[in-house]
């Protein structure tokens, strides 16, 4: 009995949240790594791009809801997702055409791109807050819990409950679908392979006749999709507050570098690594040990490795560890 309780405890407080958080980070990290691989710069505006995409989804969700259109058990926001994606693609291409293209043609150094992405970050940050305000917005509707803790306890008779929110399942499924499609595209289609080739060796790709304009357009499209989907899933699961989206960039950057910058599969794994580490290392295992150990050895303290306040420290620590042991990332990325 107690062994099962211990497992359910871990599942409820570590496994399920980490899978959800990992999916969110993975989507973000893949987007950042694609921009790095193809466009060759770290895009500090990515967090606010996610916020922008989510904002459009929210606005359109409200519109749908006002017209009485819902999605049954699923959140209405999923219906609004395509519109959000379109707007995000539009604004990404707009910024690329008016800003990034100029510096690409000048062959400016990466620092210039970072600085310019900072400018775009300020602008997007302002635009989102001006349009939708800075406050917490909850736009989740539809069926909230697939399994409530209380129900679980009733069904199984266990002491510990396992709660599963529908947003967690949606996040996982959407992430799996999105990533499968993306990796199929990158590995099995000619265009996808050409994108990888361009990211790998730009000069040789140009020599092979690969059209850089097409690659860059595709990259922004894919990145916009990832940003909007990732941002929306995050907002559905937690809530939408423009301010948090920039903060999420930090673990996303860590995941990108850990996975090997420029390597989408690495970014995927990196996201989960960071998520699991953050949650597992800040969890208080007192109850867990209580279930497993005989009463005489039961711990008195929280048994928490690091306090939750220091989440950043974990991302950073993992980043430093990886940079020391495997500077190219856990999976081979570009040598920096």
């Amino acid at each position: 009995m107690d062994f099962l309780n211990a497992i359910i405890l871990i599942s409820n407080f570590i496994l399920v949240p980490a899978i959800t958080y990992g999916s969110q980070l993975a989507l973000g990290a893949i987007g950042v790594t694609l921009i790095y691989g193809v466009l060759r710069f770290a895009n500090f505006a990515y967090g606010d791009l996610m916020a922008f995409g989510t904002m459009i989804v929210i606005l359109f969700t409200w519109y749908l809801q006002s017209k009485g259109i819902t999605f049954g058990l699923l959140p209405t926001a999923l219906l609004a997702l395509p519109i959000g994606i379109l707007f995000t693609i539009a604004i990404s291409l707009f910024f690329d055409k008016t800003i990034f293209e100029y510096y690409r043609e000048k062959k400016s150094n990466p620092v210039t791109f970072i600085v310019v992405s900072l400018g775009i970050m300020f602008v997007l940050n302002a635009v989102v807050r001006i349009i939708i305000g800075p406050n917490d917005i909850n736009f989740m509707d539809g069926h909230k819990f697939i399994m409530k803790a209380r129900e679980f306890k009733q069904i199984t008779g266990l002491n510990e409950g396992l709660a599963i929110k529908s947003t967690q399942v949606i996040t996982l499924i959407t992430t799996i679908i999105t990533c499968s499609l993306l990796f199929y595209f990158l590995n099995k289609t000619k265009t996808g392979k050409s994108m990888r080739a361009y990211s790998d060796n730009e000069d040789l790709a140009l020599l092979s006749g690969i059209d850089p304009k097409k690659i860059i357009l595709l990259t922004w499209v894919i990145v916009s999709i990832l940003a909007t989907v990732g941002g929306t899933l995050y907002g559905l699961d937690k809530s939408f507050k423009p301010f948090t989206y920039f903060n999420n960039l930090l673990p996303i950057f860590a995941a990108t570098i850990v996975g090997g910058i420029g390597n989408p599969l690495g970014a995927f794994y990196g996201g989960f690594l960071i998520a699991f580490s953050e949650i597992a290392l800040t969890y208080a295992y007192k109850k867990f040990f209580k279930y497993l150990l005989p009463e005489s050895l039961e711990p008195n303290t929280l048994i928490q490795f690091i306090s939750t306040d220091y989440k950043f420290a974990i991302s950073f620590a993992i980043l430093v560890v990886v940079l020391i042991f495997r500077p190219n990332g856990i999976f081979k990325g570009k040598v920096i």
Binding site: V115, G119, F122, V123, G133
Partner: protein, 455 residues
């Protein structure tokens, strides 16, 4: 030519501030001036790292927080009871941390051949974290429980607050040393991300270690290197000064009680202005001193060498320059200056609010100042600070003016108008972003570019 540019730009800035004084209020003008001066110190610190050496430090926010922390540690009176119950534990923990760090440095340097060196380092770090918690935990609890509402922390050394500015610089330099040792070998984008993450960690520490900084409960009522307004308002010499300066205004009023009222009001506003003037003087002194030494350093052989390294690191290495050492030195120096500014800021505000440290306002805004003002140019950094801060503060009244202009036909309670008015705080971010983009496009070296030295 360059000197003319500098003179023109600074004259324009001075003019603008005077105009604010005339059309808005002298209090506001002096506030702007003071924040500009503080920001100038910050941007000069960043400029030393970026302009002189090409190092991207996105951890500015962390060093500002360290400077702010220093004001607490230096100027606040110690909480005796906290020290007696928990002081020893904290000291032991501090020694523990220092010995672990020294051990790690030692292992890193001496055991270079040991195959598992990195694993050992990793293991030590992993083990020392719970050990640290064990050692420090009880003491921290004791400290935080003493008068939790009004103190709940260790307090400081009860020294004059100006000392904290230098302490802040020292502390920042120390932290910069550790960060530099770990991160400076990384290329620009990794360095940027790493420093950003580390600054997040530093601010987390300051926010959550209540025994040290009171965390989110904030520390208020800090000491000052200038008089307090209330003290001025009750001192005779000041009242007589105000009376003297406003004789013409006062003599127009014949009723005694009315004249007293007016005098009181004048004394109140004047006290505010007087305090700000005092601060302005001190800050101006700091900026001038810093500028003097920075300019000397820039023009010195050392300065030229730094920029040679920045422009062509490989060539410099080939010539035998110890690039790593120079970079570390510059990183520490710039961070120390930033820490100094952080202490200045908290002193001026009179309170320490750890939760206010956000990357956008305390890191990236400073970067906009440096980039806009002119990379590698001290005058540029100062100008950038003035321009950016001026726009930052004045954007709110300006936005209000523009909104009113365009929506003059709309009624006060109109939803759109209300929404726009509510959004005013965010317009300044928009202006910053657009400003940065415009400058990077049309004047990528900033308003006052670095003068190319010809030898």
């Amino acid at each position: 030519m360059k000197n003319l540019d500098i003179k023109i730009s600074f004259s324009v800035m001075a003019l603008l501030i005077i105009l604010v004084g005339i059309f808005q209020s002298w209090g506001v003008a002096l506030s702007i001036l003071n924040l500009c001066l503080i920001s100038a110190v910050m941007s000069m610190g960043v400029n030393i790292q970026w302009g002189f050496a090409g190092l991207i430090n996105f951890g500015v926010m962390g060093f500002l927080a360290i400077g702010g922390l220093a004001t607490i540690l230096v100027s606040v009176p110690p909480v005796i009871e906290a020290w007696s119950t928990g002081g020893m534990g904290i000291l032991v923990s501090g020694l523990f941390i220092i010995s672990v760090v020294l051990l790690l440095f030692f292992i890193n340097k001496k055991l270079n051949d040991y195959k598992y060196k990195n694993y050992l380092i990793f293991l030590i770090i992993i083990l020392s974290i719970p050990l640290l918690k064990l050692i420090s935990g009880p003491s921290i609890n004791k400290i935080e429980s003493i008068n939790a509402a009004t103190s709940g922390f260790l307090g400081g050394m009860n020294l004059p607050i100006i000392f904290s500015w230098f302490f802040g610089a020292l502390l920042s330099a120390g932290v910069a040393f550790v960060i530099g040792k770990v991160c400076l070998g990384l290329r620009s984008d990794y360095l940027a991300i790493s420093t950003l993450l580390i600054s997040g960690i530093i601010v987390s520490i300051v926010k959550h270690e209540e025994w040290l900084s009171r965390g989110v409960k904030n520390v208020i009522g800090l000491k000052r290197p200038a008089p307090y307004e209330v003290d001025l308002q009750s001192s005779d010499w000041f009242i007589r000064l105000v009376e003297f300066l406003n004789t013409s205004k006062l003599s127009k009023i014949f009723d005694i009680t009315e004249r007293q009222d007016l005098l009181s009001k004048l004394v109140i506003t004047s006290s505010g202005i007087f305090v700000k003037l005092c601060f302005a003087l001190i800050f101006f002194l700091v900026v001038c001193t810093l500028l003097y030494f920075s300019e000397k350093a820039l023009k010195s052989p050392w300065g030229r060498m730094m920029r040679a390294i920045r422009d062509n690191e490989d060539a410099a290495k080939a010539m035998g320059k110890n690039v790593v050492k120079q970079h570390l030195f510059i990183f520490m120096l710039g961070s120390a200056i930033i820490g100094f500014a952080g202490a200045m800021l908290v002193t001026y505000d009179g309170l320490f609010t750890p939760s206010s440290y956000q990357p956008l306002r305390y890191t990236f805004l400073i970067w906009v100042m440096v980039l806009l003002g002119g990379t590698g140019n001290n005058y540029g950094a100062i100008l950038g600070a003035f321009v950016v801060w001026f726009i930052w503060i004045q954007s709110a009244p300006f936005a209000l003016y523009v909104i009113n202009l365009f929506t003059s036909q709309l009624d006060e309670s109109n939803a759109i108008k209300l929404h726009l008015v509510n959004s005013i705080p965010y317009f300044r971010y928009l202006m910053m972003g657009l400003g940065l983009l415009v400058v990077m496009r049309y004047k990528p070296k900033g308003l006052l570019p670095e003068k190319v030295m010809r030898n």
